[in-house]
Protein backbone atom coordinates (compact mmCIF):
# COMPACT_ATOMS: atom_id res chain seq x y z
CA UNK A 1 0.00 0.00 0.00
CA UNK A 2 2.93 2.36 -0.55
CA UNK A 3 1.40 4.19 -3.43
CA UNK A 4 -2.23 4.53 -2.52
CA UNK A 5 -2.96 7.33 -4.94
CA UNK A 6 -1.53 5.34 -7.81
CA UNK A 7 -3.44 2.25 -6.79
CA UNK A 8 -6.62 4.20 -6.58
CA UNK A 9 -6.29 5.64 -10.02
CA UNK A 10 -5.40 2.32 -11.53
CA UNK A 11 -8.24 0.67 -9.75
CA UNK A 12 -10.86 3.12 -10.86
CA UNK A 13 -9.80 3.02 -14.46
CA UNK A 14 -9.61 -0.72 -14.34
CA UNK A 15 -13.08 -0.98 -12.94
CA UNK A 16 -14.69 1.18 -15.52
CA UNK A 17 -13.13 -0.71 -18.37
CA UNK A 18 -13.66 -4.15 -16.91
CA UNK A 19 -17.21 -3.86 -15.71
CA UNK A 20 -18.51 -5.01 -19.07
CA UNK A 21 -16.55 -8.20 -18.82
CA UNK A 22 -17.87 -9.13 -15.43
CA UNK A 23 -21.44 -8.48 -16.54
CA UNK A 24 -21.10 -10.63 -19.63
CA UNK A 25 -19.23 -13.39 -17.89
CA UNK A 26 -16.50 -13.56 -20.50
CA UNK A 27 -15.98 -12.98 -24.18
CA UNK A 28 -17.57 -16.12 -25.61
CA UNK A 29 -21.08 -15.79 -24.28
CA UNK A 30 -22.83 -14.77 -27.50
CA UNK A 31 -24.53 -18.11 -28.06
CA UNK A 32 -25.63 -18.63 -24.47
CA UNK A 33 -29.39 -18.61 -23.95
CA UNK A 34 -30.80 -15.83 -21.75
CA UNK A 35 -30.10 -16.69 -18.17
CA UNK A 36 -33.08 -17.36 -15.92
CA UNK A 37 -33.78 -14.81 -13.24
CA UNK A 38 -31.34 -15.29 -10.39
CA UNK A 39 -32.55 -16.77 -7.18
CA UNK A 40 -33.38 -13.78 -5.05
CA UNK A 41 -33.22 -15.63 -1.76
CA UNK A 42 -30.28 -15.87 0.57
CA UNK A 43 -30.22 -17.69 3.87
CA UNK A 44 -29.84 -15.71 7.08
CA UNK A 45 -29.17 -16.92 10.59
CA UNK A 46 -29.62 -15.51 14.06
CA UNK A 47 -26.80 -16.94 16.12
CA UNK A 48 -24.00 -15.95 18.45
CA UNK A 49 -21.97 -14.40 15.68
CA UNK A 50 -18.19 -14.50 15.25
CA UNK A 51 -17.63 -13.77 18.93
CA UNK A 52 -20.30 -16.24 20.08
CA UNK A 53 -21.90 -13.58 22.27
CA UNK A 54 -24.50 -11.93 20.07
CA UNK A 55 -28.18 -11.89 20.86
CA UNK A 56 -30.98 -11.13 18.39
CA UNK A 57 -28.46 -10.39 15.64
CA UNK A 58 -29.12 -11.68 12.13
CA UNK A 59 -26.29 -12.54 9.76
CA UNK A 60 -25.79 -13.54 6.16
CA UNK A 61 -22.88 -14.37 3.84
CA UNK A 62 -21.51 -11.97 1.26
CA UNK A 63 -18.98 -12.53 -1.51
CA UNK A 64 -16.86 -9.61 -2.66
CA UNK A 65 -14.54 -9.52 -5.64
CA UNK A 66 -11.97 -7.12 -6.96
CA UNK A 67 -13.99 -5.14 -9.52
CA UNK A 68 -14.12 -6.99 -12.81
CA UNK A 69 -12.61 -10.20 -11.46
CA UNK A 70 -14.49 -13.45 -11.06
CA UNK A 71 -11.61 -15.21 -9.37
CA UNK A 72 -10.08 -12.65 -7.05
CA UNK A 73 -12.92 -12.98 -4.58
CA UNK A 74 -13.59 -13.65 -0.95
CA UNK A 75 -16.65 -15.06 0.76
CA UNK A 76 -17.31 -13.60 4.19
CA UNK A 77 -19.77 -15.10 6.62
CA UNK A 78 -21.45 -13.46 9.61
CA UNK A 79 -22.09 -10.15 7.96
CA UNK A 80 -24.86 -8.51 9.95
CA UNK A 81 -28.10 -7.77 8.09
CA UNK A 82 -29.13 -4.25 9.06
CA UNK A 83 -32.27 -2.49 7.87
CA UNK A 84 -31.28 0.51 10.00
CA UNK A 85 -28.29 1.54 7.89
CA UNK A 86 -27.31 1.65 4.26
CA UNK A 87 -24.27 0.19 2.56
CA UNK A 88 -21.86 -2.69 2.94
CA UNK A 89 -19.02 -2.37 5.44
CA UNK A 90 -16.41 -5.04 5.98
CA UNK A 91 -13.84 -5.36 8.73
CA UNK A 92 -10.33 -4.92 7.41
CA UNK A 93 -8.89 -7.71 9.60
CA UNK A 94 -11.27 -10.14 7.86
CA UNK A 95 -10.85 -8.83 4.33
CA UNK A 96 -7.86 -10.35 2.59
CA UNK A 97 -8.62 -8.85 -0.82
CA UNK A 98 -6.95 -5.64 -1.91
CA UNK A 99 -9.72 -3.42 -3.18
CA UNK A 100 -9.23 -0.11 -4.99
CA UNK A 101 -9.82 2.88 -2.75
CA UNK A 102 -11.94 5.63 -4.29
CA UNK A 103 -10.98 9.25 -4.62
CA UNK A 104 -12.44 12.36 -3.10
CA UNK A 105 -13.01 15.27 -5.49
CA UNK A 106 -9.58 16.69 -4.64
CA UNK A 107 -7.86 13.50 -5.77
CA UNK A 108 -6.95 12.22 -2.34
CA UNK A 109 -8.46 9.10 -0.82
CA UNK A 110 -12.04 9.02 0.37
CA UNK A 111 -12.34 7.85 3.98
CA UNK A 112 -15.40 7.64 6.18
CA UNK A 113 -16.12 8.01 9.86
CA UNK A 114 -19.19 5.86 10.40
CA UNK A 115 -20.89 6.63 13.65
CA UNK A 116 -22.60 4.38 16.10
CA UNK A 117 -23.76 5.37 19.53
CA UNK A 118 -21.14 3.16 21.10
CA UNK A 119 -18.29 4.37 18.92
CA UNK A 120 -17.05 4.99 15.42
CA UNK A 121 -15.73 2.95 12.52
CA UNK A 122 -13.01 4.60 10.44
CA UNK A 123 -11.85 3.38 7.08
CA UNK A 124 -11.55 4.07 3.36
CA UNK A 125 -14.22 3.71 0.72
CA UNK A 126 -13.31 1.01 -1.79
CA UNK A 127 -14.98 -0.51 -4.80
CA UNK A 128 -16.03 -4.14 -4.93
CA UNK A 129 -18.21 -6.39 -6.98
CA UNK A 130 -20.72 -7.86 -4.56
CA UNK A 131 -22.59 -11.13 -4.60
CA UNK A 132 -25.30 -11.96 -2.08
CA UNK A 133 -26.85 -15.31 -2.89
CA UNK A 134 -27.17 -15.11 -6.68
CA UNK A 135 -27.71 -11.34 -6.78
CA UNK A 136 -24.75 -9.35 -8.03
CA UNK A 137 -23.74 -5.70 -8.19
CA UNK A 138 -20.65 -4.25 -9.83
CA UNK A 139 -18.26 -1.62 -8.55
CA UNK A 140 -20.14 -0.89 -5.36
CA UNK A 141 -18.65 1.70 -3.00
CA UNK A 142 -18.21 -0.05 0.34
CA UNK A 143 -16.35 0.88 3.51
CA UNK A 144 -13.35 -1.09 4.75
CA UNK A 145 -13.47 -0.59 8.50
CA UNK A 146 -10.27 -0.54 10.47
CA UNK A 147 -7.89 -0.41 7.55
CA UNK A 148 -4.50 0.66 8.82
CA UNK A 149 -3.81 2.64 5.65
CA UNK A 150 -5.20 5.84 7.12
CA UNK A 151 -4.69 6.97 10.68
CA UNK A 152 -7.91 7.97 12.38
CA UNK A 153 -8.64 11.66 12.06
CA UNK A 154 -9.09 13.30 15.47
CA UNK A 155 -12.47 14.63 14.43
CA UNK A 156 -13.56 11.00 14.13
CA UNK A 157 -11.88 9.60 17.21
CA UNK A 158 -13.52 12.42 19.13
CA UNK A 159 -16.79 10.58 18.57
CA UNK A 160 -15.76 7.93 21.05
CA UNK A 161 -14.24 4.49 20.91
CA UNK A 162 -13.04 2.64 17.82
CA UNK A 163 -15.09 -0.24 16.50
CA UNK A 164 -12.60 -1.56 14.01
CA UNK A 165 -12.16 -5.17 15.08
CA UNK A 166 -14.50 -8.14 14.86
CA UNK A 167 -14.47 -8.33 18.65
CA UNK A 168 -15.56 -4.71 19.00
CA UNK A 169 -17.94 -4.72 16.05
CA UNK A 170 -19.66 -8.03 16.78
CA UNK A 171 -19.68 -9.09 13.14
CA UNK A 172 -17.36 -9.53 10.17
CA UNK A 173 -19.19 -6.71 8.46
CA UNK A 174 -22.57 -5.12 8.13
CA UNK A 175 -24.94 -5.21 5.17
CA UNK A 176 -27.02 -2.05 5.36
CA UNK A 177 -30.24 -2.57 3.39
CA UNK A 178 -32.45 0.19 4.73
CA UNK A 179 -34.85 2.52 2.95
CA UNK A 180 -32.22 4.92 1.61
CA UNK A 181 -29.99 4.66 -1.44
CA UNK A 182 -26.92 6.22 0.23
CA UNK A 183 -25.57 6.06 3.76
CA UNK A 184 -25.41 9.80 4.33
CA UNK A 185 -27.40 11.23 1.45
CA UNK A 186 -27.92 14.91 0.61
CA UNK A 187 -26.34 15.93 3.88
CA UNK A 188 -22.92 14.88 2.66
CA UNK A 189 -23.40 15.88 -0.96
CA UNK A 190 -22.26 19.11 -2.63
CA UNK A 191 -24.79 21.90 -2.36
CA UNK A 192 -25.06 25.29 -4.00
CA UNK A 193 -26.56 26.84 -0.88
CA UNK A 194 -24.68 25.38 2.08
CA UNK A 195 -21.19 24.03 2.75
CA UNK A 196 -21.67 20.37 3.59
CA UNK A 197 -17.96 19.55 3.83
CA UNK A 198 -18.03 19.38 7.62
CA UNK A 199 -20.63 16.64 7.59
CA UNK A 200 -18.61 14.54 10.01
CA UNK A 201 -18.84 11.41 7.85
CA UNK A 202 -16.66 11.83 4.80
CA UNK A 203 -13.02 12.90 4.71
CA UNK A 204 -10.42 13.37 2.04
CA UNK A 205 -7.11 11.96 3.27
CA UNK A 206 -3.60 12.18 1.90
CA UNK A 207 -1.29 9.21 2.02
CA UNK A 208 0.16 10.81 5.15
CA UNK A 209 -3.32 10.66 6.70
CA UNK A 210 -3.84 14.39 6.66
CA UNK A 211 -7.60 14.54 6.37
CA UNK A 212 -10.16 17.24 5.71
CA UNK A 213 -13.92 16.98 5.65
CA UNK A 214 -15.37 16.65 2.18
CA UNK A 215 -18.62 16.44 0.34
CA UNK A 216 -19.28 13.36 -1.77
CA UNK A 217 -21.62 13.09 -4.74
CA UNK A 218 -24.58 10.88 -3.97
CA UNK A 219 -23.52 8.06 -6.27
CA UNK A 220 -20.00 7.99 -4.81
CA UNK A 221 -21.16 7.60 -1.23
CA UNK A 222 -21.42 4.16 0.33
CA UNK A 223 -24.48 2.78 -1.43
CA UNK A 224 -27.24 0.43 -0.47
CA UNK A 225 -26.13 -2.62 -2.47
CA UNK A 226 -29.68 -3.78 -3.09
CA UNK A 227 -30.25 -0.74 -5.26
CA UNK A 228 -27.30 -1.78 -7.43
CA UNK A 229 -28.36 -5.35 -8.06
CA UNK A 230 -29.05 -6.00 -11.71
CA UNK A 231 -32.54 -7.18 -10.82
CA UNK A 232 -34.68 -7.34 -7.68
CA UNK A 233 -33.35 -3.94 -6.68
CA UNK A 234 -36.31 -2.01 -5.29
CA UNK A 235 -36.19 -3.37 -1.77
CA UNK A 236 -36.04 -6.54 0.26
CA UNK A 237 -37.98 -8.78 2.58
CA UNK A 238 -36.58 -10.22 5.79
CA UNK A 239 -38.46 -13.42 6.47
CA UNK A 240 -37.84 -14.98 9.87
CA UNK A 241 -39.86 -17.76 11.53
CA UNK A 242 -41.71 -17.16 14.76
CA UNK A 243 -40.10 -18.01 18.07
CA UNK A 244 -41.90 -18.91 21.29
CA UNK A 245 -40.68 -17.29 24.47
CA UNK A 246 -38.24 -17.50 26.12
CA UNK A 247 -36.39 -18.20 22.84
CA UNK A 248 -34.05 -20.63 21.20
CA UNK A 249 -30.41 -21.16 20.41
CA UNK A 250 -30.38 -20.21 16.73
CA UNK A 251 -32.88 -19.32 14.03
CA UNK A 252 -32.64 -19.66 10.26
CA UNK A 253 -34.63 -17.58 7.80
CA UNK A 254 -34.47 -15.86 4.45
CA UNK A 255 -33.58 -12.53 3.00
CA UNK A 256 -35.54 -12.05 -0.23
CA UNK A 257 -34.42 -9.34 -2.62
CA UNK A 258 -36.87 -7.29 -4.65
CA UNK A 259 -40.50 -6.42 -4.11
CA UNK A 260 -42.99 -7.46 -6.79
CA UNK A 261 -40.20 -8.61 -9.05
CA UNK A 262 -40.66 -12.38 -8.72
CA UNK A 263 -43.36 -14.76 -7.53
CA UNK A 264 -41.85 -15.03 -4.06
CA UNK A 265 -41.81 -11.31 -3.24
CA UNK A 266 -45.20 -10.01 -4.29
CA UNK A 267 -46.89 -7.51 -2.03
CA UNK A 268 -50.52 -6.99 -1.37
CA UNK A 269 -51.58 -8.50 1.93
CA UNK A 270 -49.26 -6.43 4.12
CA UNK A 271 -49.87 -3.21 5.98
CA UNK A 272 -47.78 -0.45 4.44
CA UNK A 273 -46.26 2.24 6.62
CA UNK A 274 -44.71 5.16 4.79
CA UNK A 275 -41.57 6.56 6.42
CA UNK A 276 -40.24 10.10 6.27
CA UNK A 277 -37.60 11.12 3.73
CA UNK A 278 -35.05 12.46 6.23
CA UNK A 279 -34.81 9.84 8.94
CA UNK A 280 -36.77 6.90 7.55
CA UNK A 281 -39.06 7.01 10.55
CA UNK A 282 -42.78 6.63 11.26
CA UNK A 283 -44.93 7.29 14.32
CA UNK A 284 -45.65 4.96 17.20
CA UNK A 285 -48.31 5.80 19.76
CA UNK A 286 -47.58 4.14 23.08
CA UNK A 287 -48.95 4.95 26.52
CA UNK A 288 -50.71 7.96 24.99
CA UNK A 289 -47.41 9.36 23.73
CA UNK A 290 -46.92 10.12 20.06
CA UNK A 291 -43.38 9.06 19.15
CA UNK A 292 -42.71 10.50 15.72
CA UNK A 293 -39.17 9.18 15.33
CA UNK A 294 -39.95 5.47 15.44
CA UNK A 295 -38.49 2.84 13.16
CA UNK A 296 -38.10 -0.84 12.36
CA UNK A 297 -34.49 -1.98 12.63
CA UNK A 298 -33.09 -5.48 12.20
CA UNK A 299 -29.83 -4.07 13.57
CA UNK A 300 -31.26 -3.44 17.03
CA UNK A 301 -31.17 -6.45 19.31
CA UNK A 302 -34.33 -5.76 21.28
CA UNK A 303 -37.44 -3.59 21.48
CA UNK A 304 -36.31 -0.21 22.83
CA UNK A 305 -38.78 2.34 24.16
CA UNK A 306 -39.45 4.32 27.30
CA UNK A 307 -42.07 3.14 29.78
CA UNK A 308 -41.86 4.43 33.32
CA UNK A 309 -44.12 1.59 34.46
CA UNK A 310 -41.56 -1.06 33.57
CA UNK A 311 -38.79 -1.92 35.99
CA UNK A 312 -35.32 -1.32 34.60
CA UNK A 313 -32.50 -3.77 35.31
CA UNK A 314 -30.24 -2.77 38.20
CA UNK A 315 -26.53 -2.07 37.79
CA UNK A 316 -24.45 -5.22 38.34
CA UNK A 317 -23.69 -5.96 41.97
CA UNK A 318 -20.07 -6.64 41.04
CA UNK A 319 -18.57 -4.43 38.39
CA UNK A 320 -17.14 -7.40 36.51
CA UNK A 321 -20.57 -9.07 36.24
CA UNK A 322 -22.56 -8.72 33.02
CA UNK A 323 -24.43 -5.43 32.96
CA UNK A 324 -28.07 -5.28 31.93
CA UNK A 325 -28.26 -1.57 32.46
CA UNK A 326 -30.65 -0.06 29.95
CA UNK A 327 -32.72 -3.24 29.59
CA UNK A 328 -36.02 -3.96 31.29
CA UNK A 329 -36.26 -6.43 34.16
CA UNK A 330 -39.95 -6.76 35.08
CA UNK A 331 -40.84 -9.30 37.78
CA UNK A 332 -42.99 -11.15 35.26
CA UNK A 333 -43.57 -10.99 31.52
CA UNK A 334 -45.62 -7.95 30.52
CA UNK A 335 -47.88 -7.79 27.48
CA UNK A 336 -48.03 -4.31 25.94
CA UNK A 337 -49.70 -2.72 22.95
CA UNK A 338 -48.67 0.15 20.70
CA UNK A 339 -50.00 1.54 17.44
CA UNK A 340 -47.75 2.14 14.45
CA UNK A 341 -48.75 4.88 12.02
CA UNK A 342 -47.00 5.58 8.74
CA UNK A 343 -46.56 8.87 6.96
CA UNK A 344 -49.36 7.56 4.71
CA UNK A 345 -51.68 7.66 7.78
CA UNK A 346 -52.08 3.90 7.80
CA UNK A 347 -52.16 2.47 11.31
CA UNK A 348 -51.77 -0.99 12.78
CA UNK A 349 -51.74 -2.12 16.42
CA UNK A 350 -48.90 -4.26 17.68
CA UNK A 351 -48.92 -6.38 20.83
CA UNK A 352 -45.59 -7.45 22.23
CA UNK A 353 -44.17 -9.00 25.35
CA UNK A 354 -41.38 -7.75 27.59
CA UNK A 355 -39.67 -10.14 29.96
CA UNK A 356 -36.83 -9.86 32.43
CA UNK A 357 -33.60 -9.39 30.45
CA UNK A 358 -31.34 -10.56 33.22
CA UNK A 359 -33.33 -13.75 33.77
CA UNK A 360 -33.63 -14.42 30.04
CA UNK A 361 -29.89 -14.28 29.51
CA UNK A 362 -28.81 -15.88 32.76
CA UNK A 363 -31.25 -18.78 32.58
CA UNK A 364 -30.61 -19.42 28.88
CA UNK A 365 -26.93 -18.82 28.26
CA UNK A 366 -26.98 -20.68 24.94
CA UNK A 367 -29.91 -18.72 23.47
CA UNK A 368 -29.10 -16.26 20.71
CA UNK A 369 -32.77 -15.69 20.00
CA UNK A 370 -34.69 -13.87 22.75
CA UNK A 371 -38.01 -12.52 21.42
CA UNK A 372 -39.02 -10.77 24.66
CA UNK A 373 -35.82 -8.79 25.16
CA UNK A 374 -36.48 -5.07 25.57
CA UNK A 375 -34.90 -1.97 27.00
CA UNK A 376 -35.22 1.75 27.45
CA UNK A 377 -34.63 4.05 24.53
CA UNK A 378 -33.51 7.22 26.21
CA UNK A 379 -33.18 5.91 29.72
CA UNK A 380 -35.41 8.73 30.88
CA UNK A 381 -37.52 8.09 33.93
CA UNK A 382 -40.36 9.90 32.22
CA UNK A 383 -41.16 8.51 28.80
CA UNK A 384 -42.56 11.88 27.79
CA UNK A 385 -39.02 13.00 27.04
CA UNK A 386 -38.61 10.51 24.22
CA UNK A 387 -39.78 10.67 20.63
CA UNK A 388 -38.60 7.22 19.55
CA UNK A 389 -39.83 3.64 19.60
CA UNK A 390 -37.18 1.32 18.20
CA UNK A 391 -38.70 -1.92 16.91
CA UNK A 392 -35.67 -4.18 16.81
CA UNK A 393 -35.16 -7.73 15.58
CA UNK A 394 -37.76 -9.32 17.91
CA UNK A 395 -40.38 -7.46 15.89
CA UNK A 396 -39.21 -9.35 12.79
CA UNK A 397 -39.69 -12.83 14.25
CA UNK A 398 -42.64 -14.63 12.68
CA UNK A 399 -43.13 -12.12 9.88
CA UNK A 400 -42.14 -11.05 6.41
CA UNK A 401 -41.00 -7.46 6.81
CA UNK A 402 -40.69 -5.45 3.58
CA UNK A 403 -38.23 -2.58 3.22
CA UNK A 404 -38.96 -0.51 0.10
CA UNK A 405 -36.15 1.81 -0.98
CA UNK A 406 -36.75 5.50 -1.60
CA UNK A 407 -38.02 6.46 -5.05
CA UNK A 408 -38.74 2.85 -5.97
CA UNK A 409 -42.24 2.01 -7.15
CA UNK A 410 -43.71 -1.34 -6.19
CA UNK A 411 -47.18 -2.68 -6.92
CA UNK A 412 -48.59 -1.07 -3.81
CA UNK A 413 -46.71 2.21 -3.48
CA UNK A 414 -43.48 4.13 -3.75
CA UNK A 415 -40.64 3.86 -1.25
CA UNK A 416 -39.49 4.69 1.27
CA UNK A 417 -41.86 2.46 3.18
CA UNK A 418 -41.91 -0.60 5.38
CA UNK A 419 -44.62 -3.23 5.29
CA UNK A 420 -45.50 -6.38 7.20
Amino acid sequence: MRNVAGMMAAGLIGVSSLSFVSCGGGGSSASVAPAPAPSNVVSVVVDGGPNNNSVNTVFTTVTVCVPGSTTNCQTIDHVQVDTGSNGLRLLAPVLTLSLPVTMATDGNSLVECTQFVDGYSWGPIALADIQVGEETASSVPIQVIGSSTFAVDPNCSNKGTAEDTVAAFGANGILGIGVFEQDCGPFCAPSTTVDNSANGFYYSCTTASVCVGTTVALNSQVLNPVRLFATDNDGSILDLPGVAAPGTTTLTGSLIFGIDTQSNNSSGSETILGVDLIYGDFTTVFNAQTLSRSFLDSGTNGIFFDDSNLTQCPPPAISTDPSFLGFYCPASAQSLTATLTGTNNTSIPETFTVDNAQTLVTDHPTFSVLPTLAGTWSGAANAATSDTFDWGLPFYYGRRVFTAIENQRTAVGTGPYVAF
Binding site: V117, T161, N199, I278, G280
Partner: protein, 154 residues
Protein backbone atom coordinates in the same frame (compact mmCIF):
# COMPACT_ATOMS: atom_id res chain seq x y z
CA UNK B 1 -30.83 37.03 14.91
CA UNK B 2 -31.33 39.32 17.83
CA UNK B 3 -32.12 37.56 20.99
CA UNK B 4 -33.46 39.01 24.17
CA UNK B 5 -30.86 37.37 26.26
CA UNK B 6 -27.25 38.34 26.24
CA UNK B 7 -24.85 36.01 27.89
CA UNK B 8 -21.30 36.55 28.84
CA UNK B 9 -18.47 34.58 27.46
CA UNK B 10 -17.58 34.01 23.86
CA UNK B 11 -19.93 31.25 22.88
CA UNK B 12 -22.43 33.63 21.36
CA UNK B 13 -19.84 35.82 19.73
CA UNK B 14 -17.93 32.89 18.36
CA UNK B 15 -20.99 31.35 16.89
CA UNK B 16 -21.52 34.35 14.71
CA UNK B 17 -18.12 33.97 13.18
CA UNK B 18 -17.56 31.65 10.30
CA UNK B 19 -14.29 30.00 11.15
CA UNK B 20 -12.24 27.87 8.83
CA UNK B 21 -11.90 24.91 11.13
CA UNK B 22 -15.14 22.97 11.27
CA UNK B 23 -14.91 21.79 14.79
CA UNK B 24 -17.20 22.22 17.72
CA UNK B 25 -15.67 24.22 20.47
CA UNK B 26 -17.80 25.35 23.32
CA UNK B 27 -17.94 24.84 27.02
CA UNK B 28 -17.56 21.20 27.99
CA UNK B 29 -19.49 19.33 30.59
CA UNK B 30 -18.33 20.35 34.05
CA UNK B 31 -16.47 23.43 32.86
CA UNK B 32 -17.43 27.01 33.71
CA UNK B 33 -19.77 28.71 31.28
CA UNK B 34 -17.20 31.47 31.02
CA UNK B 35 -14.49 29.06 29.92
CA UNK B 36 -15.68 28.90 26.39
CA UNK B 37 -14.18 32.06 24.98
CA UNK B 38 -10.84 30.44 24.26
CA UNK B 39 -12.41 27.95 21.91
CA UNK B 40 -14.81 30.07 19.98
CA UNK B 41 -12.62 30.70 16.98
CA UNK B 42 -13.09 27.05 16.07
CA UNK B 43 -16.83 27.24 16.09
CA UNK B 44 -18.66 27.17 12.84
CA UNK B 45 -22.37 27.34 13.10
CA UNK B 46 -25.09 29.35 14.69
CA UNK B 47 -26.24 29.62 18.25
CA UNK B 48 -29.11 30.90 20.27
CA UNK B 49 -29.66 30.90 23.96
CA UNK B 50 -32.72 30.78 26.14
CA UNK B 51 -33.07 31.44 29.82
CA UNK B 52 -34.95 28.95 31.85
CA UNK B 53 -35.80 29.16 35.51
CA UNK B 54 -32.47 28.08 36.92
CA UNK B 55 -30.16 27.84 33.96
CA UNK B 56 -29.41 28.88 30.41
CA UNK B 57 -29.56 26.66 27.34
CA UNK B 58 -27.08 27.37 24.57
CA UNK B 59 -28.36 25.75 21.41
CA UNK B 60 -25.65 25.30 18.82
CA UNK B 61 -26.44 24.38 15.24
CA UNK B 62 -23.43 22.34 14.13
CA UNK B 63 -22.17 22.14 10.55
CA UNK B 64 -23.12 18.47 10.51
CA UNK B 65 -26.76 19.44 10.93
CA UNK B 66 -26.85 18.23 14.50
CA UNK B 67 -28.13 20.51 17.24
CA UNK B 68 -26.10 20.50 20.45
CA UNK B 69 -27.59 22.00 23.58
CA UNK B 70 -25.44 22.96 26.52
CA UNK B 71 -27.09 23.58 29.85
CA UNK B 72 -25.30 26.01 32.16
CA UNK B 73 -26.25 27.17 35.59
CA UNK B 74 -26.34 30.94 35.81
CA UNK B 75 -22.78 32.05 36.42
CA UNK B 76 -21.83 28.44 37.01
CA UNK B 77 -20.77 25.35 35.16
CA UNK B 78 -22.15 23.37 32.26
CA UNK B 79 -24.11 20.60 33.97
CA UNK B 80 -25.61 18.89 30.93
CA UNK B 81 -25.31 18.52 27.18
CA UNK B 82 -27.84 17.05 24.77
CA UNK B 83 -27.80 16.49 21.04
CA UNK B 84 -30.08 15.48 18.18
CA UNK B 85 -29.47 15.17 14.47
CA UNK B 86 -27.81 13.24 11.65
CA UNK B 87 -24.36 13.02 13.27
CA UNK B 88 -22.98 12.49 16.74
CA UNK B 89 -21.22 15.66 17.91
CA UNK B 90 -17.58 15.91 18.95
CA UNK B 91 -17.99 14.14 22.25
CA UNK B 92 -14.43 14.80 23.40
CA UNK B 93 -15.27 18.47 23.28
CA UNK B 94 -18.80 18.19 24.60
CA UNK B 95 -18.03 15.78 27.42
CA UNK B 96 -14.68 17.28 28.40
CA UNK B 97 -13.10 15.45 31.30
CA UNK B 98 -15.90 12.84 31.16
CA UNK B 99 -15.00 11.69 27.65
CA UNK B 100 -12.71 8.96 28.96
CA UNK B 101 -15.46 7.60 31.19
CA UNK B 102 -17.68 7.37 28.13
CA UNK B 103 -15.06 5.56 26.08
CA UNK B 104 -14.32 3.08 28.85
CA UNK B 105 -17.99 2.29 29.37
CA UNK B 106 -18.82 2.12 25.68
CA UNK B 107 -16.22 -0.59 25.19
CA UNK B 108 -18.21 -2.83 27.54
CA UNK B 109 -21.32 -2.48 25.46
CA UNK B 110 -24.43 -4.52 25.88
CA UNK B 111 -27.01 -2.59 23.89
CA UNK B 112 -25.43 -3.12 20.48
CA UNK B 113 -24.70 -0.25 18.12
CA UNK B 114 -27.94 1.61 18.74
CA UNK B 115 -28.05 2.16 22.48
CA UNK B 116 -25.65 3.26 25.14
CA UNK B 117 -26.31 3.84 28.79
CA UNK B 118 -23.76 4.93 31.38
CA UNK B 119 -24.79 5.49 34.94
CA UNK B 120 -22.18 6.58 37.44
CA UNK B 121 -22.64 8.56 40.62
CA UNK B 122 -21.40 11.76 39.09
CA UNK B 123 -21.86 11.15 35.34
CA UNK B 124 -24.85 9.84 33.42
CA UNK B 125 -24.98 9.41 29.65
CA UNK B 126 -27.62 8.07 27.30
CA UNK B 127 -27.07 7.85 23.59
CA UNK B 128 -29.15 6.21 20.92
CA UNK B 129 -29.98 6.33 17.27
CA UNK B 130 -29.50 4.91 13.84
CA UNK B 131 -27.71 6.16 10.75
CA UNK B 132 -28.97 9.67 9.88
CA UNK B 133 -30.76 10.06 13.23
CA UNK B 134 -28.90 10.26 16.54
CA UNK B 135 -29.85 11.69 19.89
CA UNK B 136 -28.37 11.63 23.33
CA UNK B 137 -27.55 13.48 26.48
CA UNK B 138 -25.04 13.51 29.30
CA UNK B 139 -25.33 15.21 32.63
CA UNK B 140 -23.83 15.55 36.06
CA UNK B 141 -26.61 14.53 38.45
CA UNK B 142 -24.95 16.20 41.43
CA UNK B 143 -24.61 19.49 39.57
CA UNK B 144 -28.19 19.97 38.46
CA UNK B 145 -29.52 23.33 39.64
CA UNK B 146 -32.16 22.96 42.37
CA UNK B 147 -35.59 22.29 41.00
CA UNK B 148 -34.25 21.00 37.68
CA UNK B 149 -35.61 17.70 36.39
CA UNK B 150 -33.40 15.49 34.26
CA UNK B 151 -36.33 15.29 31.87
CA UNK B 152 -35.66 18.91 30.92
CA UNK B 153 -32.33 17.85 29.43
CA UNK B 154 -33.12 17.04 25.85
Amino acid sequence: MRLGIDFKGGCCVGALLVALVPRLACAALGEPESSISGDVQHLKGSIKSTLRTNYRVHEIQLPSGTVLREFAAAGGNVFAVAWSGPAIPDLRQALGRYFDAYVTSAQAKQGGHRHLRIEQSEFVMQSSGHMRAFSGRAYLPQALPPGTSVDEIR
